[in-house]
Subunit: 436 residues, 2 copies
């Protein structure tokens, strides 16, 4: 099936940062086969020609770290420190979760992600009390792309911990290539503080034997650094390196508290960082030094974290905040220019989480793209400065259509793959059943 | 005329932070005469009863510092340092402005403000080349509330400077109570670095003689502090105090670089601060210590600055950023809770800019309010956490209706007082005429 998209400005986000005005994009089944100048001759054997009506087109956004199963917890326990927030608010409520709650929460989260322009996500979920396979099936039906990873915690009895590891290994294997290859898994030890050294080593083994990436929270707060140093005699990065975790391709969420030595270790092992600027601010963790990460040659993606610490999945706001914070922290407006932030939320972010087959509009890449109709939006005027507006002025709900794998999942701001009204109604009904 | 609004949740933003579910608000002409529980008897002699259909209602947002005449410059010269940005981008283009450009730019800015929930603004405009009275007339027609202030610069010949001061005095007097009292003026010396001591003293005189507030940029960057110290032997705050400026009620934009001694001076003279978190980050100025300002008892409002350094007028994003930054800077999630940020963008912001007759939903206050319809918005679920969502999840275009002075200016997301299509078309046409 050959679909041709015409009459649009394409912001390719390729390495040359090409912008193609009045361009053409050809999608063969799920994949972009051509992007460039309009070529009338190509139209002859097209199965479909889609006139984009002068819209702006860019690759779908890539959210490198999220917790969609927690979407139902939005707004619960704001303005609290990380530890009491987790221990007195989030975990007690999460412990009541059922498969139904996890599925509806995931649908709500994905609906918000897709409608605000995100086409790929990398997620960690708490498997307790839920049938993770059933939730994965639900996610598959949404049309979303990404990795949904079963969290490994060293909690409870030895038996509990074994069951958790076995569950993680089974799930990671079974759903490694799911939903036509749109969905995958990573091995996800929660963090150096919530996993024993044995669980970290087991995680490394599972990742190695199954050729999977690792997804873990590391170096989020000053407290974590002190805690791990006290427990194990070294800071988190060195601790995990010694345990062999970084011998597997690893994405580490946060990286707020890092020194030069640690950045060198991350670079050496090609450990990637998922930067969560808003969550790091909201939980009082601080501001990650992303400029130094990039200077050290480390791959970085932008991420929202869960909406309980954000509190939305708007990647436009997230990448803008990422850019603004580095400028403010360095007191230098030239740091982290628009193209860096936009690349980090698209091509670079995709590469960071092992999804390099997406993230830019180039021949050979998957047809994951979003459209924006700017002509009636006052905050996107004047139109001539479109590239600037994509980073500095746009919001999630400027997104008009969303395509993943060549298929429309959002059209004119409505989700085609999820029953919006039903999910919202179920969200409120189910949230009411949780005791707090 | 007695209009009664029923069937809504009212977030009053009064000092007690009252939330009234299924409440009632009575507006007598331009003013709220009752807000509280639904009272069926009141309906008998109402001229109009408006059923708000279960919406969330809050006071209109207050933008304490903007430059609407520059709205046409959105996206021009991103990622640059303040000085070259002003000198090589903004000022050369601004020097080509005409009354027509200034009027259209103001309409575009106000349209964006109103549609995203702002009902009051305090603005400084560059009067060069424009008929300021004509622009004020245009603003009057939009239904907006606020202060539009003629900037005093010590630029050009002595004659130019005199003309500028005379223009400012005349304008400030003539438009002090304009458009049924919705619009006013302040005396606006640009900054300690762009005004001579004489111009500052003249500003103080004009403010005193005409009973006007002062609006000025102060302590925005480290460079400014060094520059003023070098020129005048003291830091900006002390310099302005000595010149007598703070003997008038003053709103100072920015206040990024302040020490304890300076905060004590500001408190002593009741100088208020308009905090511009996004602009301060984007221009690399830094992060203002708002927690210390509040601890010192200083009145603070939230503001966007102009969209050339923001790049939108979304006050939801702005107040959220204000809250997030203090938490991140202090590494303490409990700092600057939701109610502080929401108050600063409503009641406290209004008080800071001398508009205390607005900013909360209370009997006796002007009927400036906005409505949000949350039921079909995934990022505002679950509904039970509404108060949290207003700060941490909402965006400007969640706003449904906007009322100023008891009159609807936006209905279902459409501006009733401005021809949206015409203003957008004119914006693009006029921007194309400017040489860059």
């Amino acid at each position: 099936m050959k679909t041709i998209y015409v009459n649009a400005t394409f912001f390719t986000m390729d390495k040359e940062n090409q912008i193609i005005e009045n361009g053409m994009m050809i999608v063969q089944d799920h994949t972009i086969s051509y992007i460039g100048q309009h070529d009338e001759q190509q139209l002859a054997d097209a199965d479909h020609v889609v006139n984009l009506g002068g819209k702006w087109i860019m690759p779908g956004l890539v959210n490198a770290h999220s917790h969609i199963v927690m979407t139902l917890l939005r707004g619960i326990g704001d303005d609290m420190l990380l530890k009491p927030w987790l221990e007195t608010k989030i975990w007690p409520i999460e412990s009541q979760f059922t498969t139904e709650i996890a599925s509806v929460s995931s649908q709500l989260g994905i609906m918000e992600m897709m409608k605000s322009g995100t086409t790929t996500f990398s997620d960690m979920f708490n498997p307790n009390g839920i049938d993770a396979g059933a939730v994965m099936e639900t996610i598959g039906e949404t049309g979303m792309r990404g990795a949904f990873s079963y969290t490994i915690f060293s909690l409870g009895t030895e038996k509990d911990q074994k069951a958790n590891l076995m569950g993680a290994e089974q799930f990671s294997k079974n759903y490694k290539a799911f939903a036509d290859g749109r969905l995958t898994t990573m091995v996800a030890p929660h963090s150096p503080y919530a996993c024993t050294p044995e669980a970290i080593m087991e995680s490394a083994r599972i990742a190695k034997e199954n050729d999977l990436m690792v997804h873990i929270h590391v170096s989020e707060t000053d407290f974590e650094i002190l805690d791990i140093e006290k427990r194990y005699g070294s800071r988190p990065v060195e601790h995990l390196r010694r345990l062999g975790l970084f011998d597997q391709p690893t994405v580490m969420a946060h990286g707020v508290v890092l020194n030069d030595e640690e950045r060198a270790i991350l670079k050496q092992h090609d450990v990637r960082v998922a930067h969560n600027p808003i969550s790091n601010l909201k939980l009082g963790s601080g501001i990650a030094d992303v400029v130094s990460l990039l200077d050290a040659g480390i791959k970085v993606g932008v991420a929202t974290d869960g909406v309980a610490s954000n509190n939305n999945f708007d990647m436009f706001e997230e990448m803008r905040t990422a850019a603004l914070l580095q400028k403010g922290m360095y007191k230098d407006a030239t740091k982290f220019p628009a193209q860096t932030a936009l690349a980090m939320a698209t091509r670079m972010g995709a590469e960071a989480i092992g999804m390099g087959h997406t993230g830019s509009l180039e021949a050979g890449k998957k047809a994951d793209f979003i459209t924006i109709y700017p002509y009636n939006k006052e905050h996107l005027q004047p139109l001539s400065e479109a590239y600037s507006h994509l980073l500095y002025a746009a919001r999630g709900n400027d997104v008009c259509d969303v395509y993943i794998d060549g298929k429309a999942v959002v059209k004119d701001g409505r989700c085609l793959t999820i029953d919006e009204e039903k999910v919202i109604a179920e969200t409120n009904r189910l949230q009411g059943t949780l005791s707090r």
